[in-house]
């Protein structure tokens, strides 16, 4: 039975050797040599330092293609034409499923035909040297972004390859991404990833870790996202990680989004150990986008405006081609520049919106309810508590495809467009908080002249792609 305990050094070495034997490129990893490589990198490529010392929100897109030279060209383009401050390398789906053989086939085919037969960069197959070629070529810090439940080999190779930031976590890369991986299993695998990051950190190479805040990307109530961020932050801290970027996905209500980002930073600082530097990342709207670049630019800009007010440390941008899937590099750069323009025009303005403190207070109270229930479920151990709380439904994520979460909680927007909880199921929450949500949703029902029902949930899921924030009944109100 796993607990929130640091993996001992000998155990770390044992697992490390074992997982590195899963694929030939694993053999090239040499920890001591990797430390030297990291020490040779200039300051402007040190992810944690660049992020933590920035004086305004840094922008980062999503991007990954199979071939190394194409990936270099793509990132150079986004750096130059998109003025991205931080760069990503998004990993392909086969690698996420640990299917390195299939990823190799795809990479070989991409190299032969020039066509992109993989939907990302197969970093394990490129190996340590391939990763370092990328790190050497790009004049900015780069993060590994993926969605891998078992990311141990990916971490071993990309850390040795010079990447200093790694997205994901045992809950945030399980619940929204996969059906059948047990939570206990993913926690155990991510303990290794975090422990390895911690080993680098101990030697002065601070690997930044970034739990994936948006979760299912669909109307996730802020307190649920924040509680999961704190848990993943705690797990990482236990393993020795000292630079943690907690994430949050825009819901589209400015007051609630600003309040949530404020609460995320505050509770992160409070719950995580003092030796951890906590930063925040804001994801532009992760739900369905309008099938129209002009309207998509409006959605992106609302994200930029929110970022200008909340001032997170990092913003992950969307592109106007979000609706159709992977954007062209031009569209990707365009999303960056639209966001930059809005932030730079608005960030020096004093924009203090009424009600942010109240909303933040509500989010904090809700988050504490969830943290308390995790603590209680685990008798003080956050690993046990998380597993048990998800099992009992006291902790839950709406629209979770995973069998590890009930997915019984359902959100709906209130009359002001803030995400509230319509169906609580077994979520552990104080009654007075439930009453607040109920009253807010009741006001919306009155405005719309209909009963509170799942129909609101369905309407809200489609609303932004249909051009509105709130899914009002047809014919307007």
């Amino acid at each position: 039975m796993i607990r929130d305990e640091r993996i001992p050094s000998d155990e770390l070495r044992r697992i490390d050797e074992e997982i590195r034997s899963n694929w030939p490129t694993g053999a090239d990893v040499d920890f001591e040599e990797a430390i030297e490589y990291h020490e040779s990198l200039p300051d402007r490529k040190r992810f944690a330092d660049v992020l933590e010392s920035a004086d305004k929100p840094l922008l980062q897109p999503r991007a990954g293609v199979p071939r190394l030279d194409d990936q270099i060209e793509l990132l150079e383009y986004l750096h130059r034409e998109g003025q991205a401050d931080l760069l990503p390398t998004t990993i392909d789906s086969y690698t996420r499923d640990n299917e390195y053989g299939k990823a190799q086939e795809g990479l070989d085919k991409a190299r032969e035909t020039g066509e992109d037969t993989l939907n990302g960069f197969p970093a394990v197959n490129h190996g340590v040297d391939g990763c370092r070629e990328l790190i050497d070529a790009i004049d900015a810090p780069i993060e590994v972004r993926h969605g891998t439940p078992d990311a141990r080999l990916l971490a071993a190779i990309t850390f040795a390859g010079g990447f200093q930031s790694f997205e994901g976590g045992p809950i945030s890369y399980n619940i929204p991404y996969t059906k059948r991986h047990g939570l206990e299993e993913t926690i155990e695998k991510w303990q290794f990833v975090d422990r390895l990051a911690g080993a680098y950190t101990e030697r002065g190479v601070r690997i930044n870790r970034e739990p994936f805040g948006p979760l299912t990307g669909t109307l996730v109530p802020p307190s649920i996202a924040i509680a999961i961020m704190i848990v993943e932050g705690q797990l990482a801290a236990t393993q020795g990680v000292r630079s943690i970027t907690l994430g949050y996905g825009q819901v589209g209500n400015v007051v609630q989004d600003v309040a949530a980002l404020n609460a995320l930073q505050k509770l992160g600082d409070e719950y995580l150990p003092d030796e951890v530097v906590v930063t925040t990342v804001f994801h532009e709207w992760m739900g369905g986008f309008p099938p129209d670049e002009a309207r998509a630019n409006g959605v992106i800009s609302l994200g930029g405006m929110t970022a200008a007010i909340a001032k997170p440390d990092k913003v992950i941008t969307k592109s106007p081609q979000e609706f159709q899937g992977v954007p062209t590099k031009e569209a990707n750069a365009s999303g960056l520049r639209t966001t930059r323009q809005v932030i730079d025009m608005a960030i020096e303005q004093e924009i203090d919106i009424d009600g942010i403190a109240e909303e933040q207070d509500l989010i904090e109270r809700e988050t504490r309810c969830l943290m308390d229930t995790i603590f209680e479920h685990g008798d003080g151990d956050v690993v046990r508590g998380t597993i048990e709380a998800f099992d009992s439904g006291a902790l839950d994520v709406p629209f979770a495809p995973s069998d590890s979460a009930r997915g019984a909680v359902l959100p709906a927007r209130d009359d002001d467009g803030r995400v509230r909880i319509f169906e609580w199921a077994d979520l552990a929450m104080d009654e007075d908080i439930k009453e607040i949500h109920k009253a807010r949703l009741s006001r919306r029902a009155d405005t719309e002249g209909r009963e509170q029902s799942f129909r609101m949930v369905a309407d809200d899921v489609d609303a932004i792609s249909d051009g509105k924030l709130i899914g009002r009944p047809q014919g307007d109100v």
Partner: protein, 146 residues
């Protein structure tokens, strides 16, 4: 006595939002819903239909590979002795330009009704109620499907 429907996303598809909403809608409409969730195999649909003695099997697919995932599905149902009404809905082809063609394709695969991704849950519920109570004529069926 309320009637049971089995619901799931077929194949490797992990889109959960649609079936979550369908689950709520069918439950609210008085059906007993067995939600198999995402990434459900043909066998899992068939076994659940048998286990719950389901009147209807509702298949969802949003990632564009539905035709491939549904090949032989009705044979599998038959092998398990399932005699339920079968609906399918979602983004059923990569290009959605010719939905009538898509509908024909899935009707030929054996589905009783085929819905596009814009269909309201209410329409599917109304259609199922009709199918479970009276056998609709072809013309009625066409009206509801369109």
């Amino acid at each position: 006595m309320s009637q049971t429907v089995v619901l799931g996303v077929i194949g490797s598809d992990a889109h959960v939002v649609g079936i979550t909403i369908l689950e709520q809608a069918f439950s609210a409409a008085g059906f007993d819903v067995v939600n198999l969730g995402v990434q459900t195999s043909q066998e899992e649909f068939a076994e659940a239909a048998v286990a719950h003695d389901a009147e209807a099997v509702l298949v969802s697919s949003l990632y564009g590979h539905a035709e491939q995932d549904c090949q032989g599905f009705h044979d599998v149902l038959e092998d398990h002795g399932v005699d339920a009404v079968t609906f399918i809905g979602g983004n059923l082809a990569v290009g959605q330009d010719e939905f009538e063609q898509t509908r024909r394709t899935f009707r030929e695969l054996g589905f009783d009704r085929v819905f596009d991704s814009e269909t309201d849950p209410e329409d599917a519920i109304a259609a199922l109620r009709q199918d479970l109570q009276i056998s609709p004529t072809e013309s009625e069926r066409a009206t509801i499907n369109s």
